[in-house]
């Protein structure tokens, strides 16, 4: 029976390429898919591209992955699929072309898929009566339309599959859904039709278990993190599918763990309703799914079902919201928290004197409650023995200058505040705040095109 193995090579832009490189050299896989895009990554890329038109994609895909193992992947006939194109697909393709030319990889085929970036179509869609309703908050899209950095539809697997059919050795996309990168080669290899919902759903869940890299193989593993072997050589997961079976494993000679619990934690990660996990390709139902250990570092996934795909595509809109700055100051035992709290009060009184107009202020104490906030242990016992505590004040304002007012007030507290304050990390900066407008767009508004060039 035909079996296809696909590896998950990257969990986000900035992830380590080590596991992907190891997999290319050592694993029996035919495909490797690398996800570089989180929700706001495209806004960051769009902003970079405004400053420098040659930017706007994830250059690491070429500089850290292809340069280390791209030629080996080609020689071993491992096809690589990635959304590293971000906002600048042609820039990414150019970088790959330059790499392949320098490596003398004659005949190397670079596929790419365009059409997800629909920013230029917004005026027409508004004229046509599409309102871009916000799924999470009230608000009128026309109020933010001038502040938009990017507007990209989450596209499905079809364009990627076309490029694979045309013989691409590497396929670059922009905002393809993470899991579509994995579904495309499986749909191609097994000839799944566009309405073969159960099989499409299996392919999507293979992608879902792989798209976060190490998190699918013992990274960020709450069940028993101490038991994970060789985290310094953490392997990333591999999905092996036949027309009937679906298993997860990992490459030989690497660390990490593949077991029921590690897969479960990733299985529901960033899922909302398990009976209706919406993707551009299929509405996935995992509410009856099972995960069973079938071997050493090998689990089998069953009972995944699919339903008809949604009528609309999810749209990722990032826009300018305002500015923020984060200031910190550390305090030591005794009474570390009391001092840090007192210092925060002094600073806020000073800011009131200086008339800072902040739209939001968030004060927390690192080492105590900056992560768990309301549910952190603030008992007398916990506070009494605190060795150290870092005051953290974050300010948001729509006005950059208002936001910046707090910055010079922090380091003077070393001499002018409670005892033992220690300033570190240099003066804080004002950072731009970008926000997401979660919405959808009609499928007809998105024209997906697949292209190919040969070296």
């Amino acid at each position: 029976m035909k079996k296809i193995a696909i590896g998950g090579g990257q969990g986000f832009w900035g992830d380590s390429p080590d596991a992907a490189i190891h997999m290319i050299h050592n694993a029996d896989i035919q495909y490797l898919a690398c996800d570089y895009l989180a929700e706001l990554t495209l806004s960051i890329m769009a902003k970079q591209q405004l400053k420098d038109p040659s930017k706007g994609y994830a250059p690491d895909f070429v500089t850290r992955l292809l340069k280390a193992a791209g030629k080996t992947a080609w020689e071993r006939n491992i096809k690589i699929l990635t959304n590293a194109g971000g906002m600048n697909i042609s820039g990414c393709v150019d970088a790959i072309r330059q790499y392949a030319t320098e490596e003398n990889m004659k005949g190397y085929k670079i596929g790419y898929v365009t059409g997800d970036d629909i920013k230029s179509k917004i005026p027409q869609l508004l004229k046509d009566g599409w309102t871009f309703p916000n799924f999470d908050y009230e608000g009128d899209f026309t109020d933010i339309v001038d502040k938009i950095y990017n507007c990209n539809a989450y596209i499905g697997h079809e364009g990627i599959q076309s490029a694979i059919e045309d013989g691409a050795d590497v396929v670059v996309t922009g905002r393809a859904a993470d899991s579509a990168l994995f579904l495309a080669p499986l749909a191609y290899e097994f000839g799944w039709k566009d309405n073969d919902w159960d099989n499409l759903a299996r392919g999507i869940m293979a992608g879902h278990l792989l798209e976060c890299g190490g998190q699918g193989a013992g990274g960020n593993y709450m069940y028993d993190w101490r038991s994970v072997p060789q985290m310094e050589n953490l392997g990333f997961p591999i999905a092996e599918l036949t027309d009937k079976t679906f298993e997860i494993t990992k490459a030989p000679d690497c660390g990490g763990v593949i077991c029921e619990q590690s897969c479960k934690e990733q299985f529901l990660y960033e899922v909302l309703d398990p009976a209706n996990y919406l993707t551009p390709d299929v509405n996935v139902d995992i509410s009856n799914a099972t995960i069973t250990q079938v071997g050493d570092n090998r689990v089998r996934i069953d009972h995944i079902h699919g339903k008809e795909k949604p009528d609309t595509l999810k749209l990722c809109v990032g826009y300018h919201k305002g500015w923020k700055t984060v200031s910190m100051l550390s305090f030591a035992w005794p009474d570390a928290y009391e001092k840090a709290r007192y210092c925060a009060d002094i600073i806020m009184k000073k800011m009131k004197q200086k008339g800072m107009k902040a739209d939001d202020v968030h004060i927390s104490f690192i080492g105590l409650n900056s992560l768990h906030l309301n549910v952190a242990d603030m008992s007398e016992e916990a506070l009494k023995n605190l060795n150290e505590c870092v005051m953290r004040i974050a300010v948001f304002s729509e006005d950059k200058n208002e936001c910046a007012k707090i910055i010079p007030e922090i380091s003077p507290m070393q001499l002018n505040g409670p005892p033992g304050a220690s300033f570190f990390g240099g003066r804080a900066r004002v950072q731009e705040v970008m926000a997401l407008w979660p919405t959808s767009v009609p499928r007809e508004a998105v024209e997906i095109k697949s292209h190919i060039i040969t070296i």
């Binding site: 929700e39 799914a289 919201k321 690192i366 549910v375 948001f396």
Partner: protein, 109 residues
């Protein structure tokens, strides 16, 4: 009856979609599933998290995996770069929920 922490009988992971946090929680042993089902309700989580979570809390049951998926809306102080929190993506929401105190009969453990 005795009081234990959810952490004693469960494990899980949290993720984010905009300002929505999802926390999946799994029973460490199959027999703990019913305890979690009884004790970890959206109402209790509302009281537990307080104004950290400003929106609705929905619980989905996935018995075939021995677990639950909790969806917490308006839970991340705006989410991603909007949030002023240190943990703007709510990576630690998965461990925060494990602090929940729950009540069990001795014979259930």
């Amino acid at each position: 009856m005795r009081e234990i922490l959810l952490n004693d009988i469960a494990h899980g992971r949290s993720g984010d979609k905009g300002d929505t946090s999802n926390i999946c929680v799994f029973a460490r042993k199959p027999e703990y599933y019913e305890i979690i089902k009884r004790e970890v309700t959206p109402e209790r989580l509302h009281n537990f998290f307080g104004d950290m979570v400003k929106g609705e809390i929905i619980r989905y049951e996935v018995p075939s995996l021995g677990g639950f998926n909790f969806v917490l809306k308006h839970a991340l102080g705006g989410g991603a770069t909007m949030s002023l929190r240190l943990d703007s993506l709510g990576k630690s929401m998965g461990s925060a929920i494990m602090r929940l105190k729950i009540h069990v009969k001795d014979e259930e453990l």
